[in-house]
């Protein structure tokens, strides 16, 4: 009886959405990420936790090559999405970022209308053949982000005029609009109040059905609430990764234990 779930788990493990193998990141001489191996499961939420400067955001940014924009930053090892090496010279970073969307700490809507915020990505990627298709993408993205009812009558108003929580959900809707497969979130709720946070967390839980989500968070309670798996980073090393419940009730590594129980300086 006990054998069955293990076999299922093993099968699931072989179908990782993202696999990182011996990933190193250097900022000049600073070795920021050391030998990180991780398998990220499709259609699930994986949380990266760890103290400030542990490399969790740096590692997150390697997944859609955001570090390419930083001078002196060098990435080694391999990161594959659906088996394809994203650092292959043939890969177009712009196409990659359409497939791997990102949401940042501070909501950063474009200084444009709500409609144009969503329509921007589909336009540059040529995802809509005409105005009516574009309208459909805008409305369905806003619906998926749980924002439609709040904004449907004011799509031409500026996105920057919305509340912080609405802006963040607008950014999530904007990420969804280009039909990504993976959504990376770098502390998406740290600038939001508890109610806006709860709405974003609810949204993350719904998005999990269709997307692979990786979230960096400083709030362990948030990691515990939204994720199925949790990875703990410390000093550029991936210390421990496993089912979220295990990480928070019975972590294997002393460093994880010290961090989650608040024993770390």
């Amino acid at each position: 009886m006990n054998e069955m779930p293990n076999i299922e788990q093993a099968t699931a493990m072989t179908e990782s959405k993202i696999s990182a193998d011996k990933v190193q990141v250097y900022y000049g001489d600073n070795h920021a990420i050391k030998d990180v191996d991780i398998e990220i499961q499709p259609r699930s939420v994986t949380a990266f936790i760890g103290p400030s400067g542990c490399g969790k955001s740096t590692f997150l940014r390697t997944i859609n090559r955001m570090n390419d924009t930083i001078e002196f930053c060098r990435v080694e090892g391999s990161i594959r999405i659906d088996g394809e090496d994203i650092y292959d010279p043939k890969v177009d970073p712009v196409q990659l970022r359409a497939k791997v969307g990102m949401v940042f700490q501070k909501p950063n809507p474009f200084p444009k209308s709500i409609y144009d915020n969503i329509a921007y990505g589909p336009r540059i990627h040529g995802l809509a053949r005409n105005k009516s298709e574009l309208d459909d993408i805008v409305s369905s993205s806003l619906q998926k982000a749980g924002l439609w009812d709040e904004v449907k009558d004011r799509l031409d108003e500026p996105g920057t005029g919305m509340s912080g929580g609405q802006q963040q959900r607008l950014c999530i809707a904007r990420a969804i609009a280009v039909s990504p497969e993976v959504i990376l979130m770098d502390e998406p709720c740290s600038a939001l109040d508890p109610i806006a946070t709860a709405k974003v967390e609810e949204l993350i839980d719904e998005l999990r059905e269709n997307y692979t989500i990786v979230i960096v968070t400083h709030s362990m309670q948030q990691a515990a609430r939204v994720s199925q798996r949790t990875a703990f980073f410390h000093l550029g090393v991936l210390v421990e990764e496993g089912p979220t419940d295990n990480i928070f009730t019975n972590p294997k590594d002393k460093r994880t234990q010290d961090y989650i129980t608040g024993r770390f300086g």
Partner: protein
């Protein structure tokens, strides 16, 4: 383990474990007193045991409130979370031990006559010794966070159950031989059952200590030894 960044959290955890240990001491004493009142038909001791149970109840309530407060204020994780959940459960078990001891003390007053059969008293005493030593060992295992000691307590519970089974049979025999002894024997039977239950609570505590220390469930690897269930 190293200390929390917030040192008040350490103080709260230490205070909590101290209170649970204090409950353990009170429960042990109530149990020992109740049985010694039973064996020597000491009504005064029985009465004071009954009164003392209130202290255990108050302490239990106090611990529960503190634990809830810690969950609210600290959002415990990992080892801390396990210590807090274990303390909640252990405090519950100890409160029940107190109730069972109190019930034995009440029966002393109900019997209110010398035990007709000294052999039975010896059986009850022997069972008590074992259950009491189980309780002591498991409380030590809790204080010293010793998972192995907790495991041994779980294993030894079979002995308490075996004595209970033999006492049960003996009592049945006496009741059949002399119907006038039935009232007293039924009281004794309940007392024996209470003591056996105290052994079970010690086992529960052992399981919680094991989980608290290791994060793993203690496998239940023994057959239930209580053979009276089919007949009782």
């Amino acid at each position: 383990m190293s200390e929390h960044t917030v040192s008040a959290y350490d103080d709260e955890l230490t205070a909590m474990a101290g209170k649970v240990a204090e409950m353990g001491g009170l429960a042990e004493k109530a149990f020992a007193d109740a049985v010694s009142a039973l064996v020597s038909q000491d009504l005064a001791l029985a009465k004071s045991t009954i009164v003392q149970d209130e202290r255990l109840d108050n302490l239990h309530q106090d611990i529960e409130e503190k634990l809830i407060e810690m969950i609210v204020r600290r959002q415990p994780m990992g080892q801390d979370l396990r210590e807090i959940t274990a303390a909640t459960r252990i405090a519950n078990d100890l409160e029940r031990v107190g109730d069972l001891a109190k019930n034995v003390a009440k029966r002393v007053i109900a019997i209110d006559s010398d035990l007709q059969n000294k052999k039975l008293a010896i059986g009850v005493e022997h069972m008590t010794e074992l259950a009491l030593s189980q309780l002591k060992k498991v409380l030590d295992a809790y204080s010293s966070k010793d998972a192995e000691a907790a495991r041994r307590v779980q294993e030894a519970d079979a002995e308490v159950d075996a004595i209970y089974t033999s006492l049960f049979r003996e009592l049945l025999t006496y009741m059949m031989e002399d119907p006038r002894s039935i009232t007293q024997c039924v009281h004794l039977l309940f007392c024996a059952k209470n003591i056996e239950r105290i052994g079970d609570h010690a086992t529960n505590i052992a399981e919680n200590v094991y989980y608290m220390v290791t994060g793993e469930r203690l496998p239940e690897d023994r057959e239930k030894m209580d053979e009276t269930t089919g007949t009782a």
